[in-house]
């Protein structure tokens, strides 16, 4: 409640976004290290595609889940709502990331994955821009 008085809505939004980014980034790096160490037969063919995919995937996932979590924070029943709301929003991101990871494991050249990266970048820009515009009306409720 005091946050409503002392901070501007966009400050709160970017703070939340930054927190989610750091959390998801750390988790993703940890998971990748575990995968490379312990899953037998998992080798990455093209590390450039792989790392760009992880970077863009983390950014997209963090910004989409921040705004959905903001909506859900205002709802009365919070527990089961998150997967229901986020799944259709995240699906285009997930499908593209899966495809790009597949390309990187198969050892494709960077040029093959440019289409996937374009989709990921446009998804990131669209979601962040729309969150920037809409966060204030969620925050006021």
């Amino acid at each position: 409640m005091t946050l409503h008085l002392i901070a501007r809505p966009l400050t709160i939004y970017f703070g939340k976004l930054l927190f989610n980014l750091i959390l998801l980034g750390a988790l993703n790096i940890f998971t990748v290290i575990l995968y490379l160490l312990f899953v037998t037969g998992f080798t990455v063919g093209n590390y450039l595609i792989f790392s760009v995919t992880i970077l863009l995937g983390t950014l997209g996932l963090a910004s989409a889940s921040t705004i959905i979590a903001a909506i859900i924070a205002k709802a009365n029943t919070k527990g089961t709502l998150y997967p229901v709301l986020s799944f259709p929003i995240l699906l285009p991101l997930l499908l593209t990331v899966i495809n790009a990871t597949k390309l990187s494991v198969e050892g494709a050249v960077f040029g093959d994955a440019v289409g996937e990266f374009q989709v990921l970048i446009s998804y990131l820009v669209v979601i962040t821009a729309i969150s920037y515009l809409l966060f204030e009306s969620i925050w006021k409720e």
Partner: protein, 228 residues
């Protein structure tokens, strides 16, 4: 009243014509429908499936526009229009899915086989299912209206990705080429007339249903406000 009656007769004629006009190899009479290679008798579904999909798109678009209007004006009447249109859109989207998968059973051999079109309409149904789940989880009219409008806008901006991503991932089998070639509609005149009559008839049906639903919701809101 007369309008309702006219609409009923109009749609009955469209349905009778769509189902009963014979499909022949060489259309000679005015009522003969042409033979479409690969579709044969199954081509009749175009009179019902395409209008359903079109009305669903229209209804979701109108719902989105009223959602944006609500966020800028904060007038609950816009929210009533938005949610009524979304509900109707969901009904028409389900009808489009059902007619589409009936057709798929006889053309592709199974009701559901994750064709890109089927996947994208499945996600559309998920989005609006989530939209109504969100609405039922929020108390307070203004809060519910704002949050569901925000969710509809976020879902609306991510939806185009499906139109561009899905065809890139999988080759579709959805027969657009049968009627649309090089951006032009190539259809026999009789078929085109029935198709356009069906399209306009179902669009009019949607607007009539929307009007009725909006009036009902307004009464319910008034009753609800008086009760508090």
């Amino acid at each position: 009243m007369t309008l309702k009656l006219f609409l009923g007769i109009w749609l009955s004629l469209v349905i009778i014509a769509g189902i009963s006009f014979p499909i022949t190899e060489n259309p000679t009479n005015w009522y003969d429908l042409p033979f479409v290679p690969g579709l044969e008798d199954k081509a009749r579904i175009i009179f019902f499936h395409v209008p359903m999909a079109w009305v669903a798109t229209l209804a979701f678009g109108i719902s989105l526009i009223y959602g944006i209007k609500y966020l800028s004006k904060e007038n609950l009447d816009y929210d009533i229009k938005s949610v009524s249109s979304a509900g109707l859109g969901l009904i028409f989207a389900i009808l489009a899915t059902v007619t589409g998968s009936l057709w798929a059973k006889f053309s592709w051999g199974s009701f559901w086989n994750w064709d890109p079109r089927q996947t994208s309409i499945f996600v559309l149904l998920l989005i609006y299912g989530a939209y109504f789940a969100l609405r039922s989880a929020i108390e307070g009219d203004e809060k519910r209206a704002t949050l569901s409008a925000v969710y509809a806008i976020i879902a609306g901006v991510t939806a185009p990705f499906f139109i561009f991503i899905m065809p890139r991932l999988v080759e579709g089998l959805h027969p657009n080429e049968a009627f649309v070639s090089q951006g032009k509609i190539s259809m026999n005149p009789t078929m085109l007339v029935i198709f356009l009559c069906s399209l306009s008839g179902f669009t009019a049906l949607y607007f009539w249903m929307l009007n009725t639903k909006v009036r009902l919701e307004r009464l319910e809101l008034k009753h609800h406000l008086k009760g508090d």
